[in-house]
Amino acid sequence: MILAILSAVGTLVPQNAELTDYIAKYGLQKYRILKGLGFTDIYHSWYFIGVFLWLTVSSIYCSTTRLKRTFDEQFNPKISYRRRFLENLPFFREIHLRESADPERIRDFLRAKGFVTRNEQEMTPDGPRHSIFAQRGMIRKWALVVLHFSIVFVFVGGALRSILGIDGSVAVRDGTKETLTVKMGGGYSGMFKYVLPDFALEQYVLDLKSFYIRYVKRETPPAFVSDQPPEVQELFRYELDDYVSDLTIINEGKTEKKLVRVNHPFIINGMVFYQNAFNMFVPVIFRAGDQEREVLVQNDRPFQITMEGVRFLDQEPPDPNVGFYFTLSQTVAGRLFNHDTKKEILVPPMSIFRVIDLNTGQPLFLRVISSENWIKLGEGSSRVSVRLGDKVENASIFSYKKDPGTPVIYFGFIFIILGAAITIYTNRNQIFISSEGRLLLYGTRIQGLFLAPEPLFDQFSGEFGIEDPEKEA
């Protein structure tokens, strides 16, 4: 419950955000309090890690004690039952047999029902007393042990990753190479650097031939552009399909090439590279009077064109005299892929130019902008003509990881699922019998979710005797 509450706090306060964002949202005073309490990075705070460690230790303790108990119940069960023990079981009956108890016959009967049985005989002043223990569904008990151990495995796998693992991200521009040098455990500190070996440096050369966004063409444009000009509707028919990087990686003399896509990472010598993000820099050429300028803007990054140049609104405040600002989106600058015809089409750079009202933030209108024709914006002295440049620059951003904890975590995951399912969906049935002469005491304990009534007792009493002594008489 403590873990649940702490986890919830982390979803109410932005984690690891920029200082300016915190101050804008909470003010300096409140930010200092939040920071002091560790709420701005709660999942790495000492107390959060402490709760996890406590959970790990208690899981280990719980698992080992359960293991011992389960082992004893499986291989060394206690077999000698007194009446009081049997009477306290959830189900208890006293049976008067037709003839003296034959332990072997009873065991055969129970074995035929899938039980594993054991018996013990002891001598009493009244003659021999037989105790029989039978159980079915021990897998449930073992599954519970496995479930608890699996949670420990996941924690151990996570710890291996954080101590030894490599992860990060790297950006590569179209047509360029980047060299990535890393080593396992490179980030560990404290006592680990004395305990763990010094791993060798690993070098990966990433050669990005090209990055592009792949589109599929819809039969009709989406409804929300139905009132837009035809060329805007036409461009909106292309829907985002995937982000694709044509990547070659060289490592330890091995060269491999692959189209890296989302959900389709590049794996080389245990290192995995994921298509994570991209930057698309689009040159915009604008002409105002005799002046012509070219500036690089980014997809979906709002900007304003003024007579002085370009203002990026995430860096400086807008010029209120202009009255509107722009974003570029759905920029198409290379391959389009039409899945209906399986035909690749190369197009010149083009994009949707969104003109947004500065005061309301609502789009005023959409235009298609391309490298081939100018569009005119604004009125009077703020009138400008704009087109795209001829070449769009892309950078693909890959996240990478090498995680020695992965097999351990996957092992844990698989057995958590199996453990939970078997524990909950199977029953465990234990039968305890004690007999002296023609008197038989029968007790049962059933553990499980879908507890069946005790049908076995009816069969048992039908086979060996009757329950009601009066009927017998």
Partner: protein, 284 residues
């Protein structure tokens, strides 16, 4: 979007079914009325299913992916209610108990009414983001929805248990079907049935995140609330199995668990917007 008519019909039929189930419960559990309720529920469910099939067909035609309809927020709400009705039909079929009908069908009615607040133009099929194009999508989401549906039944049981405990004379027809202890046990069974699905769903999500982004767990708000859901139901089962916890205290934890389910499923989007957080799950 002609298919929206199908879900509209289904919703209106669910309203009628809820009222009829209420009459069934209030007036002595008339057998004929019970059969009419079940049949009408099946008809409503058929319309609801037809809406889903239309969307499945659309996604198959446009993306060549077999996808259940939970890509947009509207679809997710619809699929959530569809799962609840499916699990309830299975429950009624197995247990032959109909007295939960008015409460169980009322939940889809309320959720679908809430979905009517989504503008019509946003109820259409959505473009599938690249990260969602994975076989793990169906595996992860289906498991989560099955668990959510069963948790909903457990929640209804918990509420009824508390009401029956506080006001023993209320709804005498309910007593004939199940005692308060029976309701409590049923609630436990539904949670226990759902728990492995929830566990599987959360783990499938983690494996998928690892395949797509290289990290099992990023403490994204949606992931975190799914984890909190898992923790609360783990506590419930642990206490129930090891400490024989039942009755009022168990019902309270059960209700808390369902509130967290609702936060995970519906509330996180609002939390993310309200607290201006970043989330990779805001598309659902």
């Amino acid at each position: 979007m002609k298919e929206l008519t199908l879900i509209d019909i289904a919703w209106k039929l669910y309203i009628v079914v809820t009222v009829l189930y209420g009459i069934y419960l209030a007036f002595g559990r008339n057998r004929i009325l019970g059969i009419v309720c079940t049949l009408l529920l099946l008809v409503a469910f058929a319309f609801h299913t037809a809406f889903g099939v239309t969307r499945i067909q659309y996604y198959w035609d446009t993306t060549r992916w077999f996808l259940f309809p939970y890509i947009s927020y509207f679809e997710a709400l619809s699929f959530f209610t569809w799962s609840i009705v499916l699990v309830y039909i299975g429950f009624e079929f197995i247990t032959k108990i109909k007295v939960f009908g008015p409460f169980m069908v009322a939940i889809p009615v309320i959720v679908l009414a809430f979905s009517q607040m989504i503008p019509v133009e946003e109820r259409g099929p959505r473009t599938l983001m690249p990260a969602l194009k994975s076989p793990w999508l169906d595996i992860h989401v289906l498991a989560m929805f099955i668990s959510y549906a069963a948790f909903t039944i457990a929640f209804v049981c918990a509420v009824l248990f508390l009401l029956k405990t506080a006001f023993p004379g209320m709804l005498p027809a309910l007593d004939k079907a199940l005692s308060p202890d029976g309701i409590d046990l049923l609630s436990y069974r539904m949670i226990a049935f759902a728990y492995p699905f929830l566990t599987f769903g959360v783990i499938a999500g983690a494996i998928w995140a690892d395949k797509a982004w290289g990290t099992y767990w990023a403490w994204d708000p949606k992931e975190t609330w799914a984890f909190i859901t898992w923790l609360i139901y783990s506590v419930y089962l642990h206490m129930r199995i090891t400490m024989r916890w039942k009755g009022t205290s168990a019902a309270m934890v059960n209700i808390l668990g369902f509130v967290v389910v609702l936060i995970t499923f519906i509330g996180v989007n609002f939390i993310v917007q309200f607290f201006k957080l970043e989330s990779q799950h805001t598309y659902i």
